[in-house]
């Protein structure tokens, strides 16, 4: 019995509300189709059709309805989808706007909303009392994996997470302003006008689709004689036209952080039926505000009484919003239960719209005179000093039980909706996030801003200023400008209460809900106190009160009051739990923003990347770099390719892309002196045109980085670092230069990316590059190992290094990066014709290990000294100072028995060791065994015809020749300790 497409719902009231009747939208709820008006929220649209029950509660699976009309909603959490990829669970029905085609589904029910098997939990509720999960699942231990965990996982959490990749995109924007105003109600709008008049740059932000705040429901207030809501819209239009004002609606200030930093989330398309492809779904604004004005208003509280959670029971202000803004009546016969005058105005509005008011039940003996008089004038039955102590109705409230306070004879009054108000809680969330301190307003039982931690001011209802005239004055002052504006409330409000109401006290075993989303009752909070929880933080965690996604916007004050009563301590002594960002849930998509796919992290590619890819290279990640790993030919696996590359380099030659190596140009008259201080080696003795391998230690004496340094001129060095170490080495050098050695005239410049580096290694290396080099004799005599020169390669200014990380005759050709591909192509074309190969990082690793060259970070781990690594020769004994000189003399660094880097060969040449495997002297000793060290590098060496490894071993050099053992899970491998040079021990090839 689908509603007709023009059926806007039986509870729509003609002439009421602010939507345009001609503009409708179709949507489905649990598969059934409905028509809404544009501007409706899912909540108002469902209520228009008389749909109150929208979900099942978290723990007891009780039927639940719509409690509020705003973002504080704890109850009506729904699954909202646009299509298969665009589905989001736990969306608040009171926030989600209806658009044509949106599909809404209820959650936490099976098989259906009306008949839910989980509701059985409600009968078992004694077993689900506060803290049950700390007790119930304790034993037997074996039951945990099979029984308890699966049960908890199924029961825990509302809604079902989407499974498909999010097809939407999300934007990020940094912004700055003089004044950011959170909340565009009357206070926020007025402050914006005032601030804008001073010429300040202003951000005015509101979470709702339209500005106006409380004017959404308060149809009686006037500003400058105009209806408050209309004034708000006109004012917003004025503000939007000002060049110094940015007005953001559907935008939540979710976090107020240090130093005026404010996080906003703008919902851009969630209300649009067919959003443009270029629109982000949401936009994260990261705003730095010189000043923040908080005009966040206040939130109405519910009454805590038995069975106060039935669908149809809602906040009085929400009923007013549904009526005055959406044109929807929440029932035909409405009961009112209140401790505050504001609910009376809801009754007046409903009555005038033709809704029958069963009675106003006011637990106070003395309501405000004005509202009482008006109620009488409208012929509404008011029961002062009375309370609602129970309700009935399975899927919707059908009656309320009313008693005189202290009495026992309950009278059942038939209603189809019950609106409640216990008063208003100022929204101090953002103030608290900014680390401001609150004070307790005893008279009105509320926490208010007291001591500010940042340049911030609270105005209006969030500051306890409810009177419209006072509020406007406060807002004008906060904006810093001058403005003539007056406002008037229809009624001055009095009253309010926190804590459990009549019939829900310590003597009553009833379900009087405090926290709807987590099903926490007044009884649960008392139980927590009885079980020894005396801190509000412990009570919160034991009961989970306020820990749901609504963060207790309605429940915290009630929970605090009940706890304080049980503890016999005044409320300020018990204290509030901490408010934390985000104010309302923020999607992961928004926080991730642009950092997805290719933009997740920069992928750094060398100038020759595309050419290498065209040659079939496989790439590996080294830091953010993509480095050519190996170059498989057709039919080759990695092992075969690397073996071939290793052989070819030593037999003919190989061409390798070394561009990623860090490069730092050290320039200035004191350059050598500076390097003397930063490296363990001596540099003043290095002649221009020569290079040297350098070790850098930290002050503690441990190896920090290494690399070849070439001296181009007296005052100019070309320093190389490891690929991964480049940024931190430069930072380390700058630190010493700026703060310890600022007297030195020397400067550091990163040139990593200035140069494309083409390494040509192998016996034919010279022959390969010879024809390309101009103006330089590269014969062994004129340009021996460890030489550097500036020359031209193919007419391009180049730096040529004679150096080797393979143990072969080698050159590294540095050309300005843009020329890299052309030079690479030419060299490779010639090299290929001469039987050379391209090789990648894996072959580079094997070849260097065959020669015992270390890789900092692989063979060292931050606890290895140059001597441990067999590089003691690189530490100058003559220098008076260098970074690490004192650390190296520490007792632990010079003691016997330190771990030293050595070679290992397995007794069976085909056995391969695992990197990281531990080494022991006696494999038969009891566990835990005494471990002597571990394997740092292990490869198959095609050139040696066997496996080779490097390891850090206690007293390693003294153990050369000994047999040690590497216990693995399935076997123990015997190894012999050797020196680290496995190939060409004489080292003649490098000088070829």
């Amino acid at each position: 019995m689908s509603a007709s497409s023009k059926d806007l719902g039986a509870f729509r009231i003609k002439g009421a509300g602010r939507h345009t009747p001609a503009r409708t939208a179709r949507f489905t709820f649990d598969g059934k189709s409905y028509t809404a008006m544009e501007g409706d929220t899912v909540a108002s649209a469902l209520l228009a059709h008389g749909v109150h029950v929208v979900g099942r509660s978290f723990k007891y699976h009780r039927p639940r309805g719509i409690l509020s009309a705003g973002p504080e909603e704890p109850n009506a959490l729904l699954d909202v989808s646009r299509d298969a990829g665009r589905r989001q669970p736990n969306v608040r029905a009171t926030v989600q706007e209806v658009f044509d085609g949106v599909k809404i589904a209820s959650q936490n029910r099976w098989p259906s909303l009306k008949y839910d098997i989980g509701a059985f939990n409600d009968l078992l509720s004694p077993f689900f009392a506060a803290g049950f999960y700390y007790k119930t699942f304790m034993w037997p231990k074996e039951a945990w994996h099979k029984l308890y965990e699966p049960f908890i996982r199924r029961a825990a959490g509302l809604g079902e997470a989407p499974r498909e990749e999010d097809p939407d995109h999300y934007a990020n924007r940094y912004a700055h302003c003089d004044v950011l105003i959170a909340g565009a109600g009357v206070a926020g709008l007025t402050a914006a006008l005032s601030a804008a008049a001073t010429g300040a740059s202003v951000f005015l932000v509101d979470e709702q689709p339209e500005v106006g705040g409380a004017m959404h429901f308060d149809a009686a207030a006037t500003i400058d004689g105009v209806n408050g809501y209309e004034w708000a819209q006109k004012t917003a239009a004025r503000l939007k036209a000002m060049p110094n004002v940015t007005v953001l609606t559907r935008t939540t200030v979710f976090g107020y952080y240090n130093h005026g930093f404010v996080g906003l989330v703008e919902r851009v398309t969630d209300h649009v039926a067919r959003p443009g492809r270029d629109l982000p779904r949401e936009r994260l604004w990261q705003v730095r505000a010189k000043r923040v004005v908080l005009a966040t208003g206040s939130i109405e509280r519910h009454m805590v009484f038995a069975n106060n959670d039935r669908p149809g029971i809602m906040l009085a202000s929400a009923a007013r919003t549904f009526l005055n803004h959406h044109g929807v009546a929440v029932g035909k016969k409405v009961g009112v239960y209140t401790a505050h005058d504001s609910a009376y105005e809801a009754a007046f509005d409903l009555k005038r719209a033709g809704v029958s008011i069963a009675a106003i039940v006011d637990c106070r003996n003395h309501p405000g005179d004005a509202v009482l008089a008006e109620a009488r004038a409208l012929g509404i039955d008011v029961l002062t000093g009375h309370s609602v102590v129970n309700t009935s109705g399975r899927l919707r409230v059908s009656s309320m039980s009313v008693v005189r306070n202290g009495g026992s004879n309950a009278r059942k009054v038939a209603v189809d909706s019950l609106i409640v108000s216990a008063g208003w809680t100022p929204s101090v969330h953002l103030f608290s996030q900014s680390r401001g301190k609150l004070r307790f307003d005893e008279q009105n039982q509320r926490f208010l801003p007291d001591i500010y931690a940042q340049d911030c001011v609270s105005i209006g209802a969030c500051n306890g200023t409810d009177n419209l005239s006072d509020l406007i004055d406060e807002a004008i002052a906060a904006g810093g400008g001058a403005l003539a504006l007056s406002g008037e409330n229809r009624f001055e409000w009095t009253g309010g209460m926190i804590g459990a109401a009549e019939g829900a006290g310590p003597d009553h075993v009833v379900k009087a809900f405090v926290d709807f989303q987590h099903d926490v009752t007044a009884k649960d909070i008392r139980l927590a106190v009885r079980e020894g929880m005396h801190s509000i933080e412990h009570i919160k965690r034991f009961t989970t009160n306020g820990m749901a996604s609504d963060q207790g916007k309605l429940s915290n004050m009630h929970g605090l009051a009940i706890a304080a009563e049980m503890l016999g301590r005044p409320i300020p002594k018990v204290g509030l739990t901490t408010f934390r960002a985000p104010y309302t849930p923020v999607t992961y998509g928004t926080l991730v923003g642009h950092s997805r796919g290719d933009l997740f992290d920069p992928a750094r590619k060398t100038p020759m990347h595309a050419l290498e890819a065209a040659e079939g290279a496989e790439f590996e990640d080294v830091g953010n770099w993509k480095r050519a790993w190996y170059f498989p030919k057709r039919g080759e696996d990695m092992h075969a390719a690397v073996n071939r590359e290793c052989r070819t380099v030593r037999e003919a030659a190989g061409v390798f892309d070394a561009s990623t190596l860090g490069k730092i140009e050290v320039v200035g008259p004191d350059a050598a002196q500076f390097l003397n201080l930063l490296y363990t080696n001596a540099w003043d003795t290095l002649k221009p045109g020569k290079c040297r391998y350098g070790i850098m230690t930290r002050e503690d004496g441990f190896v920090y980085d290494d690399g070849v340094v070439g001296r181009l001129a007296e005052d100019r060095f070309h320093v190389t670092t490891t690929t991964g170490g480049a940024p931190r080495v430069l930072h380390h050098m700058e630190d010493y230069l700026q703060t310890e050695f600022p007297h030195l005239k020397v400067w550091l410049t990163s040139t990593t990316e200035q140069w494309a580096v083409i390494a040509v290694q192998g016996p034919k290396a010279r022959e390969i590059i010879q024809p390309f080099v101009e103006g330089l004799d590269i014969s062994n005599e004129a340009f021996p190992h460890m030489s550097v020169a500036e020359c031209k390669v193919m007419g391009v200014p180049a730096r040529l290094f004679r150096m080797s990380f393979t143990g072969e005759l080698g050159f590294e050709v540095n050309v300005p990066a843009d020329y890299g591909p052309a030079v690479w192509k030419a060299i490779w074309e010639r090299a290929e014709g001469m039987g050379a190969c391209l090789y990648g990082t894996e072959t580079m690793h094997v070849l260097r290990a065959e020669k015992g060259y270390i890789i900092v970070g692989q063979d060292t781990d931050g606890t290895v000294t140059p001597d441990d690594a067999g590089l003691g020769w690189a530490v100058s004994k003559k220098k008076a100072d260098f970074v690490g000189i004192r650390g190296l003399k520490r007792p632990d660094l010079i003691r016997d028995g330190r771990k030293q880097l050595v070679g290992l060969v397995t007794n069976r040449p085909s056995d391969m060791l695992e990197e990281g495997a531990q080494i022991v002297a006696d494999p038969n000793q009891p566990k835990p065994m005494t471990m002597l060290g571990h394997v740092t590098s292990s490869y198959w060496s095609e050139n040696c015809g066997r496996s080779i490894a490097m390891a850090l071993v206690a007293d390693g050099r003294a153990r050369i020749g000994q047999t040690l053992y590497v216990p693995m899970s399935d076997r123990t491998i015997a190894v012999e300790v050797t020196d680290m040079v496995f190939f060409d021990k004489e080292g003649g090839r490098i000088h070829g």
Binding site: R173, L279, H594, P602, P607, V667, T749, E753, A822
Partner: protein, 184 residues
């Protein structure tokens, strides 16, 4: 042989933008990372033919060259290809560091009414004309990479970035440009 060697620009073939933002790769340029102590700035200014700016976040352009203040002793000097910047600096005869970084950096030109918003998709600086007027420049952060930003006109910026970060920077600018044009 020299004329056979062609340049491969890191952003060759990249183009993009949106209704309010134009993105294009800048042509090759000569770039100098210049370091000199305050007392020697005059000598370098004379040698380069432009007054090196000494006020933070400012640049100076003269004789086809632009010098960007990056730090109290650091400038990025940008000029035409083969403009002889290195030689000019060497002629100053005063201790300094001049390092050719022409190929280390590449540049993206961002222009149009949405240019500042596009850059603010990843850059945390205040790009209002008041805080970042024409000629203002700064090394800063853009998403996950470092850039040097120069405002060349009210609605135009030059984004200098290391070459291996340039496709990331271009990609994020494209996202920012798309969002800057989104009807808000």
């Amino acid at each position: 042989m020299a004329d056979l060697v062609s340049r491969s620009l890191p952003l060759a073939g990249f183009h993009g933008g949106s209704a309010t933002v134009r993105l294009e790769a800048a042509p090759p340029a000569e770039r100098l990372s210049l370091r000199v102590r305050p007392e020697d700035v005059g000598a370098l200014s004379g040698a380069l033919g432009l007054d090196l700016p000494t006020k933070p976040k400012t640049s100076v352009s003269a004789n086809g060259r632009t010098a960007l203040w990056l730090g109290p002793d650091e400038w990025l000097v940008i000029g035409d290809v083969n403009g002889g910047l290195m030689q000019a600096a060497a002629n100053s005869g005063t201790p300094h560091s001049a390092v050719d970084v022409s190929h280390r950096n590449t540049a993206i030109l961002v222009s149009g009414p949405g240019a500042a918003n596009a850059i603010n998709a990843g850059c945390p600086q205040d790009l209002s004309l008041k805080a970042f007027p024409v000629g203002a420049c700064s090394r800063t952060i853009f998403g996950k990479v470092e850039i040097v930003l120069l405002r060349t006109a009210e609605d135009a910026f030059r984004v200098e970035v290391w070459r291996s970060f340039s496709d990331y920077a271009f990609g994020l600018l494209s996202e920012g440009a798309r969002d800057a044009s989104a009807a808000v």
